[in-house]
Subunit: 373 residues, 2 copies
């Protein structure tokens, strides 16, 4: 028994030590002091203290590798509340004018940008210039050009750029991706993504073209876009799309209400997707292969995710997505871990390339080739 | 107690007698002798004794209103087998050369055409000219023009033309259509139909353009087309479509393997559909309204159909579809019953108009307006 216990202790120690040692790259610590034992937690400042930031903050209470050490907000009263909630000292609080000074703050490793879409680009560039890692909520930007600039800026600054793709760490999603990548579904033929909900308050920024860069597609359709890529395991090479607007008062010019879009992949697989702000009960993924299928419903909501395949139900246990996401992102940034499904800037940029193509397909009524250049 | 039993007997008698009396129209009996008590069964000759005819014949064993009294086939050995199975006298057996003589056969009220698609049109015209009612398997023809000619020919001959839409009599389907039409799902926003299977034997007529008029769309995609109409409760006014071919050897020029198509309806509702001969596990309908949803999977297979809505599972009891279909069609032809979802030639023709438009949309890559003229 002793020898077996010794063996297990040894392999456990080894398993844990590999990523911590081998994964450390100089740039992981380029903006902070050299790692100490108690430095192994990613210290995050949240930028933008709206409802989703609240959700992330609640989830981070259970994180083992990430914690909130700072906030950036344009609303002083919100900052006060957050300081009390998370014991944040005055020196770690910023507004949108002065947050470049975060550069000199050794208590903050990364900034999680959770602001309206159109602001991501300039904010990301400033955070990168301040030498801090960037975690940016999706969509990373409002078009591929800005997304590309964000990727390049972070590369140049030697900081990570991660996009807030929480599903990439979700257990059901990962298991289906594993099954597909190991051939358990056979050759992949079809993906279907239905992403939508009925949006409320017509005055919110998500329905303002200047701030949102679009409508449902930027916010919820992107789940079907991104999902098609990790579910199929390829990047689409063409897209067709059709827009429908039933409420032009709520959904003004440039703010999409409902878009159906279809994509083709290099292997010949096709995808059929729906993005909408006008329908509830729409959160479904379906992946069809020659040997089997996988289905998720709900597929990208906050959970629990429900899933099944031709082999039966999966329904893997629920963990708050943002808790796992932030712990795993800490592993990526601090230890150089490589996630099963990428969450970096290139991944986010590809989604923006596809969104640009969808909007072009809607406008022209033609099939649009997608080129990742 | 006695008075209540009398009352129940009276209303039962009334309920049954209304359609039998009020529904009788002169043309229902135009091709046969005047009705006797034992004439209330529709006497059907099956044309084309392939695998689906066998399925229909098996189902008709349980029919109360329809029976097989004749056959038409080009294969004498098949006729022998069917004569034995159904006790059919020689005088009720025909081949494709001589079946016009059915005109003088008082044992046959209707001919159910279950032959390759391209043959439906000339065969229907000959059956109508012989003064017999026509039941024609779907697709009714290989294009709208031929479908129209069939409708007009039957009208002129004073015979019924019914299309073999068995789902129109299926309990789950009817209950969902009832819920939708009574507003229980709210304003309808979206229909999704996924119809497909992996087709076997590459030498079968369904993969021969001359006989089939196409590929998967004619055979299985039509379920999503027709389903969209009875589920949404409207006829589509535009369509876009994209074709994908992964196996050009099996699916030759003009034989579609996989087509995605999208349709728009007058109310603003949209549909997203898939028709394929290359994927299994694809038999799903989903209907989304502002107040709820309905889902069917399998939705159009031979059953049992499984269904559920926002209110919970339906899963109404299974009855062999073709049994119900033939009994109900007997009611339509003999008693003038009006089915909840139409199954007449106009209904079949609309599907052909839509198929024409889908093929045009594939060819042009453009959105095609659908006009029912």
């Amino acid at each position: 028994m002793n020898s077996r216990r010794d063996f297990l202790q040894k392999i456990t120690a080894t398993a844990f030590s590999i990523p911590l040692v081998a994964g450390i790259s100089p740039k992981s610590f380029s903006s902070t002091s050299l790692p100490q034992e108690n430095d192994k937690v990613l210290r995050v400042a949240l930028m933008g203290l709206g409802s989703y930031a609240n959700r992330v903050a609640d989830a981070m209470k259970d994180c083992k590798r990430a914690k909130i050490t700072g906030v950036i907000s344009g609303t002083p009263s919100k900052i006060k509340v957050w300081q009390a909630r998370f014991n944040i000292p005055d020196k770690n609080c910023y507004n949108y004018e002065n947050f470049d000074a975060i550069k000199n703050n050794p208590d903050i490793d990364a900034v999680y940008i959770i602001t309206p879409n159109a602001l991501h680009h300039p904010q990301c560039l400033r955070v990168a210039a301040a030498g801090k890692h960037v975690i940016c909520e999706k969509p990373m930007s409002i078009n591929a050009k800005e997304g590309r600039e964000m990727v390049e800026a972070c590369k140049k600054a030697g900081v990570h750029l991660l996009i807030g793709y929480r599903m990439h760490f979700e257990a059901n999603t990962k298991e289906i991706v594993r099954m597909r990548s190991e051939g358990e579904l056979g050759k992949i033929m079809f993906f279907q993504g239905l992403s939508g909900f009925i949006i409320g308050d017509p005055s919110q920024w998500r329905l303002n073209r200047e701030l949102a860069g679009g409508g449902a597609m930027m916010d919820i359709g992107i789940y079907s876009i991104n999902g098609s890529r990790y579910m199929v395991g390829e990047d689409p090479i063409w897209v067709t799309a059709q827009e429908t607007k039933t409420d032009p008062v709520k959904f003004k010019e440039g703010v999409d209400e409902t878009i159906q879009f279809q994509m083709g992949f290099p292997s010949g697989a096709v995808a059929s997707c729906l993005s909408t702000y006008s329908m509830n009960y729409l959160d479904k993924f379906y992946l069809n292969g020659k040997k089997g299928f996988a289905e998720m419903q709900p597929s990208t909501g906050y959970g629990p995710i429900k899933s099944w395949t031709h082999k039966g139900r999966l329904d893997l246990p629920h963990v708050t997505h943002q808790t796992t996401q932030m712990d795993e992102m800490a592993g990526i940034i601090l230890d150089g871990k490589v996630p099963m499904i990428p969450v970096d800037g290139e991944e986010g940029w590809k989604d923006m390339v596809i969104i640009d193509a969808i909007f072009e397909a809607v406008k022209t009524g033609r099939k649009v080739e997608i080129k990742y250049v």
